[in-house]
Amino acid sequence: MIGLRDSVAGRVVLAVISLLVLVFLGMPIVLILVTSFGSDALGSFPPESWTMNWYQQLFADGSRWPAALALSATVAALTTVFSVALGMMAAIALVRSDLPMRSAVYGLVLAPLVIPQVVVALGLFLLFEPAAMLGSPIAIALGHTVLATPIAVMILMATLKGIDERLEDAAASMGAGRLTIARRITFPLAAPGVIAAAIFSFITSFDEFFISQFLSSVDTITLPVQVFNVLQFDVDPTVTAVAALLIAVALVALGLVSLLRRFGTGKQGGLLPVDVPAGGDTK
């Protein structure tokens, strides 16, 4: 209800800088999109002539792309579920409780980000190979969860710190159980953080190479592995079409998330982890 407006000059400067950064971040993607319709993709820009060739190849018989995309999406979805659940609990423990050996737990959670991924990948291979789980999407997802959880924890910790935990107490005073509190109070208030954590868990898995590679088997090749295989030795513009397709998928998926949130809460919300700021007026 109370808030301080930013000065006009400040707002303009901020907007200009931000837009520049955005253009900078988005530009490479736009360029790849354009390229994906060029006949000499990865050769020249702007393309000298246009073609749908790369998109046709994407879905041609014997193409490995659809399977790789499906596998990566499945694995990433599983990873997202695992790491957001684990991450939420860990973040709650780290932020909302008197945890003995808190620093040790925090260190343990962060460690997977620091240990070289190849080392983690080899370890997981040695763990899953005797269990005959190579190539299992679940195994790959379990592996990716090791890398995604720390990120989820970091984001969720920051989010939880910003939420007045006494609101959770207020709910408890009315008899709400822990799950209900999580579902009705903590999650909605932490929604931006939870969605951010979910997105990054998804991306972490979707982009991961070593673990996917080490845990792959005959029929399981994830997208990054496939991209690597393709680009390691040859120039293959099909990857630009794949990229374009992924952008479309990402947009649709993120759009769905926001729709779900809107219908789920009946509230006008933004597209992504954005919500009406809790602390003040929106203007």
Partner: protein, 375 residues
């Protein structure tokens, strides 16, 4: 609506209780204690509260009222001591399992829910039907004059409106024990009177046990069956309003309830007190020996002005302040001593500079050790 009641366990539906049978629970607090670092916030507080009783915590800022309430509700774990609700030891129980209701001093409305969603929340937890919820929420908001605001978010409300939502949210589901931490502190007199009446009505009809925190003596006196006066983490006196007001057990209580005047003096052989300023004041019964140094305490409202020769004490009127129905008068007594405050009906106010005497009904004069300074 008023005949609905709530079981203490979450998720259990509201159950009809036969009229006249109270659903409140008794409460027993034994030697609870809470320290923050070196600070003792609550120091071995004990009290027995009967089912259906309306108890108020009265005490100065920082005296441990909120902390005690929080321990009863389970949000603060006592360092030691135990808390029993309805015969069940809940000292180590999670708050949501205690079956209490709470109105927080800082409201703590859910910012992501509208007013009616906030109020509906505890009902939803109890699995009421949509229809029932709508009705109950509607009635409760109506009672608090909030119907127009049902679809607003908390941050779109004024302070007093938010406070009323907090009250509604706790009353709507009729918990057998409700803890209220200054639930009407941000409201004007009219609204407060109105809501006091409602709270009292609901409490009486259902036989709820209520523990109420207020800093408003009048509110405490009007609402409570018993009042616990707190000071520095301890309970100075836990008694009915009448007892407290008429027979304060400590100077602090006397002072806190009515900003008493303390008049130092010595006990005479007949039990009256000879004031250091000269006069003799007759007092209520006390067990101070003759010759003991004491202070006689009188509330400003229990002093009357009379002719100088008729009073136990004389002085010059120093200030006369107009406060509506009453006039506040301060008098500088002849001889030494600090000013004496009076509250008298506007019609009978003396003028500034008048020389007056003071009288009091002996029953209105308490006697305390000289040591106690009246906080």
């Amino acid at each position: 609506m008023s005949e609905l009641h709530v079981m203490s366990e979450r998720k259990s539906p509201l159950v009809l209780a036969p009229d006249g049978i109270g659903i409140g629970k008794s409460l027993s607090v034994t030697k609870v204690r809470k320290t923050y670092g070196t600070m003792t916030a609550v120091d071995e507080v004990s009290m027995e509260i009967g089912a259906g009783e309306f108890v108020t915590f009265l005490g100065s800022s920082g005296s441990g009222k909120t902390t005690t309430l929080m321990m009863i509700a389970g949000f603060v774990e006592p360092d030691s001591g135990s808390i029993v609700v309805g015969g069940r030891d809940v000292t180590r129980l999670a708050p949501q399992k205690r079956g209490l209701g709470f109105v927080f001093q800082q409201y703590l409305l859910f910012p992501h829910m509208t007013v009616s969603e906030n109020v509906a929340f505890p009902l939803e937890l109890r699995g009421l039907s949509k229809q029932d919820i709508r009705n109950r929420v509607g009635e409760t908001l109506e009672m608090a004059g909030l119907s127009r605001f049902a679809r607003r978010r908390p941050r779109e409300l004024s302070g007093g409106q938010q406070q009323r939502v907090a009250l509604c949210r706790a009353l709507v589901y009729r918990p057998p024990v409700i803890l209220m931490d200054e639930p009407l502190g941000a409201l004007d007199k009219k609204l407060r009177d109105q809501l006091q009446t409602e709270i009292k009505r609901i409490q009486r009809e259902l036989g709820l046990t209520v523990i109420y925190v207020t800093h408003d003596q009048e509110e405490a006196l009007v609402l409570s069956d018993r009042i616990a006066v707190m000071r520095d983490g301890r309970i100075d006196q836990f008694d009915t309003p009448q007892e407290l007001f008429e027979r304060p057990r400590t100077p602090f209580v006397a002072d806190f309830l009515g900003a008493a005047n303390f008049l130092p003096g010595t006990v005479e052989s007949d039990g009256a007190v000879r004031l250091d300023t000269g006069g003799v004041v007759r007092t209520r019964r006390h067990d101070h020996a003759a010759g003991a140094r004491v202070q006689a305490a009188v509330q400003p409202g229990r002093l009357a002005v009379c002719a100088p020769e008729d009073g136990f004490c004389t002085g010059i009127v120093e200030t006369v302040t107009y406060v509506g129905t009453l006039v506040r008068v301060t008098i500088r007594p002849d001889g030494a001593g600090s000013t004496i405050r009076l509250e008298i009906p506007a019609g009978r106010a003396p003028l500034m500079g008048d020389r007056v005497g003071l009288t009091a009904d002996p029953d209105d004069v308490s006697v305390f050790d000289a040591a106690g300074t009246g906080g």
